[in-house]
């Protein structure tokens, strides 16, 4: 209980940059973990390696954001007289392994199940398209750390976007079976894309300060880029139908998740929960 409490950061405006940093970290970690579930199970050796590489890139991005978040948390606690002097330092590991479901701020899209190859590819495409615009914009942040992390990650995401776009086109414009599968994946995932663009309270604060990005500003470009790939894939009709359907609103960013995240954390955190502080 004590440990969880240490990692709980109050939802106050002055903590917005911490929440924002954790939000980026959680997105990268959870999607990276999902992709890593393919390792050893990819449809062919070459694509097994490709998706594992993407998983590694994302976990690497998560580490950078977690390290920066830990730094901010430790600094803010240092200035807080009510916090015990002898408390343990927050680290990237404690943030990843010792926070509970409700404290994770990843978007619902990233925690959705892998499903078949089409669903994994489409989830990656939607999110890479978003990260591409986000990191591009965030690399202009007044915050030097966020700017540097984003600039480095942008190169990786540019490749993820190229890889996933290529697969969406291949499947949409491939055989009847591959087209059927990408359309099913679209039905399952589309409703989770709206959350990407609805700003959480902490996003509004950091955007106003020029430290972060208000995601609603990314939406027109995202729509345009997704449409271009969908057109090439021959599945643009699905997109125009999907837009009229009901969307899931803001949830994950504020800590309200689908049932999937609990299972992910059970697997991800088991070792540290069962054997605290163990390492090898």
């Amino acid at each position: 209980m004590e440990r969880i409490k240490l990692n709980t950061i109050a939802h106050q405006p002055q903590n917005s940059l911490i929440h924002y940093t954790l939000h980026q970290a959680d997105n990268a970690l959870i999607l990276g973990h999902r992709n890593s579930e393919w390792t050893g199970h990819g449809p062919v050796l070459e694509q097994d390696i490709a998706i594992s590489n993407i998983a590694l890139d994302l976990v690497g991005q998560a580490r950078n954001f977690y390290q920066y978040a830990a730094l901010q948390i430790n600094e803010s606690m240092h200035h807080d007289a009510t916090v015990d002097e002898g408390r343990a330092e927050i680290t990237e590991d404690s943030l990843a392994y010792l926070r509970d479901v409700r404290e994770f701020k990843n978007c619902l899209l990233t925690e959705q199940e892998n499903g078949d190859w089409a669903k994994t590819v489409l989830r990656q495409f939607f999110f890479s398209q978003f990260q591409y615009l986000l990191y591009g914009s965030l690399s202009q942040s007044r915050d030097k750390d966020l700017s540097a992390i984003s600039e480095k990650a942008l190169k990786e995401v540019t490749y993820h976007l190229r890889w996933s776009s290529e697969w969406v086109i291949r499947l949409g414009d491939g055989t009847g079976e591959s087209r059927r599968r990408i359309l099913i994946a679209f039905d399952e995932l589309w409703k989770f894309t709206s959350e990407l663009f609805i700003p959480a309270s902490y996003e509004l604060v950091v955007a106003a300060e020029g430290l972060g990005v208000n995601p609603v500003t990314l939406k027109p470009s995202w729509m345009k880029n997704v449409s271009m790939v969908f057109e090439e894939a021959g599945i643009l009709d699905a997109l125009s139908q999907g837009i009229e359907e009901g969307w899931v609103g803001l949830c994950g960013k504020e800590g309200n998740h689908t049932e999937h995240l609990g299972y992910i954390l059970a697997q991800l955190q088991f070792l540290q929960r069962a054997y605290p502080d163990c390492n090898w």
Partner: protein
């Protein structure tokens, strides 16, 4: 030839490609290995993911394996053995001036 044709049949029905990588220091593309891909673009991306993940290269060539014509191992004696006793083909009999450092 027969070896390459045989390899093309394995895997998942995607053709086999040979990958050549040029390293940062190297001037020439060297054979790195092979992989399966549906077309040239996928072969290029697969090559990037499979053969350059430890910073091996700055340039990639891919070519479908079926376009590579290999010599027959059975012909080895007639192709290569005759060169064995023709040492005069190596330019080792010249006196090099001392100023010449890299030769």
């Amino acid at each position: 030839m027969p070896i390459i044709q045989e390899r093309e049949k394995d895997g998942i029905g995607w053709p086999l490609w040979e990958v050549f990588i040029r390293s940062k220091q190297g001037l020439d593309h060297k054979h790195a290995g092979s992989l399966h891909a549906a077309d040239a673009q996928m072969a290029m991306e697969n090559a990037r993911d499979v053969y350059t993940r430890r910073m091996e290269g700055v340039s990639i060539w891919v070519v479908e394996s079926k376009y590579i014509h290999a010599s027959n191992p059975d012909d080895a004696s007639s192709l290569y053995d005759p060169a064995n006793d023709k040492a005069y083909r190596h330019p080792t009999f010249y006196q090099l001036p001392d100023e010449l450092k890299n030769m």
